[in-house]
């Protein structure tokens, strides 16, 4: 236990009460299912950038990442390189086009989006099954992480910590929906980056800057500063390096709880601003935890696992070593923030999928908007409570399954999400083949522990197989309809809008514009009045 003093309790309580307050506030502002599930598609660029990035960054960035660097040296920065550019790839490749296409297709969930872009019963069933299983696995893992972190840092018994930590997440997500999730993510993102920069600056001075750090590390063990890991453990394994860079560079584009952020953007035009803000935030946040792992080797030698230490505590130990009590307690809050910002997004997505993709598709096709919102809310509550119970019981084996959720989700969905907006030929056969192959290969690779012997990262092999299946399946299968291909063209915005109109943006009629678009898509107004489809 590192913390556990009155200061830590007070700071953490203020933070948790603040999160609950945000949930209560936004509960009053969600009037339609689109408000509750997608924030009414009116999330601005700053909020989109921060919710996107904090959702992507879990507690791993504060604990797992630095611990890995502590043990492997500079090699781990391959992951940071991928992560640092992840936002540019994610928003740049998918952002604008996915926002448009999801709007044209009238989708509220990322699974519904796959289903409508690649129509067919197999798409629906397979996509929902993979997403629900592995996103749920993710939720469980995050809840347990939240509990373990609180317990380890404050000395609270684990069950109490799980109930408090996960309970707050469930409450504000249940009450406020997407807007509560986005705003809590925003605050959590600021806390995360400020606390990291604070410790980093102080630790940087302690080790004598980059030169001092490198000289001292080389003196300890020259392979610390090499590109193949400590003791050249990964010497010549380019497959592992490619996987390490690629897993975060492109992997997020396959995660449903991350790509749903594109669908909630206020306007496709915000994608460029979002890329800039997310990239700036990334550069301030991503490299720091990894470099702190390197600093930890010098400043905290007692954390070496060989000496019985726990390198996952690098960031916190540095915080308590370098910062006064209250600021160190804020770092503790930052770790909780990282975990909560990921967990809330996954829980929100579970509610969206169960409400929209299961209830409205299979149980009550004529559900009203209010019913859909209520059912999604209830699903969030039920999934949250069940997850807390499972996290408390911790049945053996469950958590072994969830560790590879990232690779499995990424491999299963990435080609379909990217192909949906970039390749008109991409079709249902390709989508189904890629989901099945990506998922199965990832599971086999991880279960049989083939990454070590083959030198191929699970994500790397999963994504190669999945892309190959998508391309072959799409070339073999029937091309999408002309209407769908036109829609993809429109999502790419290939129509040249005359210069005078391209900049028109009367904010006063923006809500009506969105309302009219929805109406025109759902009714036969355009057809009956002799217009081309909108």
């Amino acid at each position: 236990m590192i913390g556990g003093g009155v200061t830590e309790y007070v700071v953490l309580m203020i933070y948790l009460i603040g999160m609950i307050g945000i949930g209560v506030y936004w509960a009053k502002h969600s009037k339609t299912s689109e408000d509750y599930l997608l924030g009414g598609r009116k999330i601005g660029s700053v909020l989109t950038a921060l919710t996107l990035q904090t959702t992507s960054m879990s507690g791993y960035m504060f604990m797992g990442g630095p611990a890995q660097t502590y043990q492997d040296g500079y090699f781990t920065l391959w992951y940071a390189v991928g992560d640092g550019g992840g936002a540019i790839f994610n928003v740049g490749i998918l952002g604008k086009r996915m926002r448009r296409l999801s709007y044209y297709l009238g989708c509220l969930s990322p699974i519904e989006y796959i289903e409508k872009r690649y129509p067919g019963p197999a798409t629906r069933v397979i996509a929902a099954a993979i997403a629900i299983c592995f996103v749920y696995g993710y939720v469980l893992a995050q809840f347990l992480s939240a509990g373990k972190t609180m317990s380890a840092l404050l000395g609270v018994p684990l069950p109490v910590a799980i109930i408090i930590g996960a309970g707050v997440i469930v409450f504000y997500t249940f009450a406020g929906g997407y807007l509560a999730v986005a705003w809590t993510d925003f605050i959590q993102g600021i806390v995360m980056v400020c606390s990291m920069v604070m410790i980093f600056v102080l630790a940087w001075n302690q080790v004598g800057g980059l030169t001092g750090l490198n000289e001292q590390l080389t003196a300890l063990d020259p392979t610390y500063t090499g590109m193949w890991g400590r003791g050249d453990a990964y010497l010549g394994q380019w497959g592992v390096v490619a996987g390490a860079v690629g897993v975060y560079l492109i992997g997020y584009m396959g995660l449903p709880h991350v790509v749903i952020r594109h669908m909630a953007m206020e306007s496709p035009k915000l994608a460029k601003q979002t890329v800039v803000i997310a990239t700036v935030w990334n550069q301030m946040f991503i490299f720091i935890p990894y470099i702190m792992g390197l600093m930890g080797i010098l400043l905290l030698p007692q954390l070496d696992p060989a000496k019985g230490g726990d390198p996952e505590m690098v960031v916190l130990e540095l915080a308590y070593m370098l910062l006064p009590g209250v600021l160190a307690a804020i770092v503790l809050v930052a770790i909780m923030s990282a975990i909560m910002s990921t967990a809330d997004a996954q829980l929100m997505l579970m509610g969206t999928m169960l409400g929209r993709d299961i209830y409205q598709r299979y149980i009550n096709k004529n559900a009203t908007d209010k019913q859909l919102m209520s059912v999604s809310r209830i699903c969030i509550l039920v999934v949250g409570v069940i997850s807390i119970i499972i996290a408390l019981i911790r049945p053996p084996g469950v958590f072994d399954l969830v560790v590879f959720s990232f690779s499995t989700l990424g491999s299963s969905f990435l080609p379909s999400y990217v192909g949906a907006v970039w390749w008109k030929r991409g079709n249902t056969t390709g989508c189904v083949a890629s989901m099945i192959c990506g998922c199965i290969v990832s599971i086999i690779w991880e279960a049989a522990d083939l990454a070590g012997p083959t030198g191929m990262h699970t994500f790397f092999i999963g994504i190669i197989v999945s892309i190959a299946a998508y391309v072959i399946g799409s070339l073999v299968g029937k091309p999408p309809t002309k209407e769908m291909q036109d829609m993809i063209d429109r999502a790419a915005c290939k129509t040249k809008i005359p210069a005078g109109f391209a900049t028109v943006n009367y904010k006063d009629i923006a809500p009506e514009t969105n309302g009219v678009l929805t109406f025109l898509k759902d009714s036969n107004y355009m057809e009956e009045r002799g217009f081309q489809p909108v």
């Binding site: 044209y104 035009k269 009367y506 678009l517 009045r529």
Partner: protein
């Protein structure tokens, strides 16, 4: 069907002129009316300060499709008109829900304008279901590609529909 609408400030010709002023690199191929649903709700507000703008009779306009609320200065000129059924957007929000939710917006507006200690009395007086006419405008660019514009016939504002 017969509906009550906010009177047009802009005719089709006005819309043509206004749009062509913006750019010459397109042609208008088709234009038609679409009626958007609102409810104008009148409340009697009292928070003790008689001379304030939001004290007394207050009008709140509810967007019956999306559920948004805004304060309205006046009802504008309302006229009865006949409209084809499929040009009238249906309300997604019930009038009861709108009446119940609108006071929150009024309270928010009062707080924005003035710090008050007393919780205002906001009493419902009457409501009017009205429609605002918009033009859906289909245009072709110089490459003969289609794009659509939504034109507000009351204020003359417009926006691209598929941007």
């Amino acid at each position: 069907m017969r509906i009550k609408v906010i009177k047009n400030g802009f005719t089709m010709e006005d819309a043509f002129e206004r749009l062509y002023k913006r750019s010459k690199h397109f042609t208008i191929e088709n234009m038609d009316l679409l009626f958007y649903p609102y409810t104008l709700i009148e409340f009697d507000v009292d928070y003790g300060e008689k001379l304030e703008r939001l004290n007394g009779k207050v009008l709140c306009m509810c967007d019956m499709w999306r559920g948004g609320y805004s304060m309205a200065k006046s009802k504008g000129e309302l006229v009865m008109t006949d409209a084809d059924d499929n040009t009238v957007m249906p309300a997604k929000i019930t009038v009861e829900d709108a009446i119940a939710d609108a006071p929150r917006t009024i309270y928010g507006e009062i707080q924005k304008a003035k710090r008050i200690l007393k919780i205002p009395d906001i009493n419902y007086v009457r409501h009017d279901s009205v429609y605002k006419p918009f033009f859906i405008v289909e245009c072709l660019n110089d490459d003969k590609e289609v794009f659509h514009i939504l034109f507000d016939t009351v204020t003359g504002e417009y926006s691209l529909l598929n941007a």
